[in-house]
């Protein structure tokens, strides 16, 4: 049986499912069908009834509500222990997670308790001669690889954002059966004391409403080169955004960072200049209607999501583009 461990974002916004929970559940449904095994799902902590009703409408064999006062707030120690107890009880052959920051924090610990390795950030999986082969990326998306795990299991795998489609989820006319599972826990086994989540500062720039975004990455090399892309943004009437290293270095303010730690945008056009296209950046901009990439490396992963691309040195391409845009607009 395949067990999918779902994630909620109850601490931050109003309680809601983490979008990647649905994608992972879709992965679970597809793999369970291929393997000819059942699918179960688990959610940790107290959930409100609306969220549980939404979950029960999906095609799932059994839902586990893993409840304990000590799971109210996420801790790595608490979650690893609760999941361990559930896995020991129901003995799944495969445990799937969404590859979220939270899962990165506790799932490797959980897998270790079963002398297993979490196969992290998986983009697809297939059945090959009766065994599952997991595909994951190396070198920040520049290469892919087939991963196999030894037969004894359980296997633990986390699913990359966007790798499976949430809209492919099968629903069910009758509500999936659910059950409360109460792990045995006490406060002394939890060493982390988490405080309330917070945001650094109010966002002065709302990139989500921008129609066109010009985004700059490490290919720009130096802070003094930023005007090169500013010119392009001006010509296109675009907002300026950046990949993480640019904001880390303070070349542009944090609030202009696009990606899993920054903003998620879906403009009419996103122009990525000197950005390699690591998954943490892609999740923040993949939804753009038209994606343009300018990069000197023809194999940069950004070209895999681009509709249009120019392979070349941005210091030559961008000024030429500014001219061409100005000409086309006049």
């Amino acid at each position: 049986m395949i067990l999918v461990i779902l994630e909620q974002q109850s601490e931050r916004q109003n309680s809601q499912w983490h979008r990647m929970s649905w994608e992972t559940l879709a992965a679970g449904q597809q793999l369970a069908a291929q393997l000819g095994v059942g699918l179960q799902a688990a959610v940790l902590g107290k959930s409100n009834s609306a969220l549980l009703a939404e979950l029960a409408s999906k095609k799932i064999g059994h839902i586990w509500n893993v409840e304990h006062d000590l799971l109210e707030r996420y801790t790595a120690d608490g979650y690893a222990s609760a999941c361990q107890q559930l896995v020991e009880k129901i003995k799944p052959s495969v445990v799937l997670f969404p590859h979220t920051y939270q899962v990165r924090d506790f799932a490797p610990k959980l897998a270790t308790r079963f002398s297993q390795v979490l196969i992290s950030d998986v983009i697809s999986a297939r059945l090959d001669a009766g065994a599952l082969v997991y595909v994951r990326q190396f070198f920040q998306g520049k290469l892919s690889g087939d991963i196999r795990a030894n037969g004894t299991g359980p296997h633990f795998a986390s699913i990359q954002a966007g790798a499976f489609r949430a809209d492919a989820l099968e629903t069910s006319a009758t509500a999936a059966p659910s059950e409360v599972f109460s792990p045995v826990m006490d406060a002394t086994m939890i060493r982390q004391r988490p405080e309330a989540p917070f945001r650094e500062a109010a966002r002065a720039v709302d990139l989500t409403t921008a129609e066109i975004i010009v985004s700059v990455g490490r290919g720009i090399k130096e802070q003094s080169n930023i005007p090169v892309v500013e010119e392009l943004a001006k010509a296109l009437g675009a907002e300026l955004a950046a990949s993480r290293p640019i904001c880390d270095a303070g070349w542009l303010p944090m609030e202009r960072q696009v990606g899993s730690s920054g903003q998620t945008v879906a403009p009419k056009m996103y122009v990525a200049v000197g950005i390699s296209g690591a998954i943490q950046h892609l999740v923040g901009m993949k939804g753009a209607k038209t994606i343009v990439a300018i990069n000197k490396d023809a194999n940069a992963p950004i070209f895999e999501v681009a509709d249009y691309g120019i392979v070349g040195d941005l210091f030559e391409v961008v000024p030429a583009l500014v001219d061409a845009v100005n000409k086309a607009k006049s």
Partner: protein, 255 residues
């Protein structure tokens, strides 16, 4: 305070990667190597904590002989000494790697163990977490700030979409460090000189209980399958730019 920093040597960023004939891994012959980026930030954080609280910074690095270069650079930046697990990493999975590292750490009895949140080559993002579990100490990941108050640690952990959270935990602990949490220093000439005389203890897998067998392994690596049809313009910048703008205007209709 004794701080251990686990660092890895990886191919230099922007390297042109070629798949080895075996298709199990890349061809490393023509590549240059450097410290894994988040590990560089972990090292910097350790050096800053030492400046504040005193103590010792010990670098721990598993890798073949060539990793010695990266170790020397860490010593030149100010680490006090190093432990080099001299071995070929290719047959190890994360659990095996973490077992050897945890084994090497055990004898050191460090107060704090730092490492980068993931390696730029494998990117599995787990070594630190698995080490913590094997050593029976607390951990936290994607750390953007570290504060030591006596025997407790207060860290700032990055959450998604621009959220953060402070977490307290007892020492000893393992933290996986996010890039960008501090400003990296350069090695000084003096530092490079001093590094020559610093201790680098070499350990082999045999001395750490033997090479663990892998439970997961990479069958083969390949160029990613392209899912989207993209139109790529190459050649001189002016022509490519004109062609692109044409498409944007009449096909994508963005202006």
């Amino acid at each position: 305070m004794k701080i251990l920093v686990a660092i890895k040597q990886v191919p230099m960023r922007d390297s042109q990667l070629r798949i080895a004939p075996s298709a199990r891994w890349i061809d490393e012959d023509a590549l240059n190597f450097e410290i894994n980026e988040p590990d560089a930030y972990a090292l910097e954080e350790a050096l800053q904590l030492k400046e504040k609280h005193g103590g010792e910074v010990v670098v721990l690095c598993a890798g073949p002989e060539r990793a010695g270069q990266t170790i020397r650079e860490a010593l030149a930046k100010g680490a006090d000494r190093a432990i080099h697990l001299e071995l070929d990493l290719n047959s190890l999975d994360t659990l095996g790697m973490a077992r050897l590292l945890a084994h090497a750490c055990a004898a050191e009895k460090a107060d704090l163990i730092l490492t980068g949140l993931q390696s730029d080559d494998l990117g599995s993002g787990q070594t630190g977490v698995v080490m913590a579990e094997l050593m029976g100490v607390a951990h936290s990941t994607i750390i953007m700030q570290v504060e030591v108050n006596g025997s407790t640690l207060r860290v700032k952990r990055e959450l998604e979409n621009g959220w953060f959270q402070h977490i307290e935990m007892p020492l000893p602990a393992v933290l996986t460090i996010q890039s960008g949490l501090n400003k990296l220093r350069y090695a000084t000439l003096m530092g490079i000189k001093k590094a020559k005389n610093k201790e680098v203890k070499k350990l082999t897998a045999t001395e750490l209980g033997g090479m663990p067998a892998a439970v997961v392994w990479t069958d083969k690596i390949y160029a990613p399958h392209k899912s989207k049809q993209s139109q790529i313009f190459e050649g001189d910048a002016k022509t490519a730019a004109t062609q692109l703008v044409e498409k944007l205007k009449f096909e994508a209709r963005v202006f």
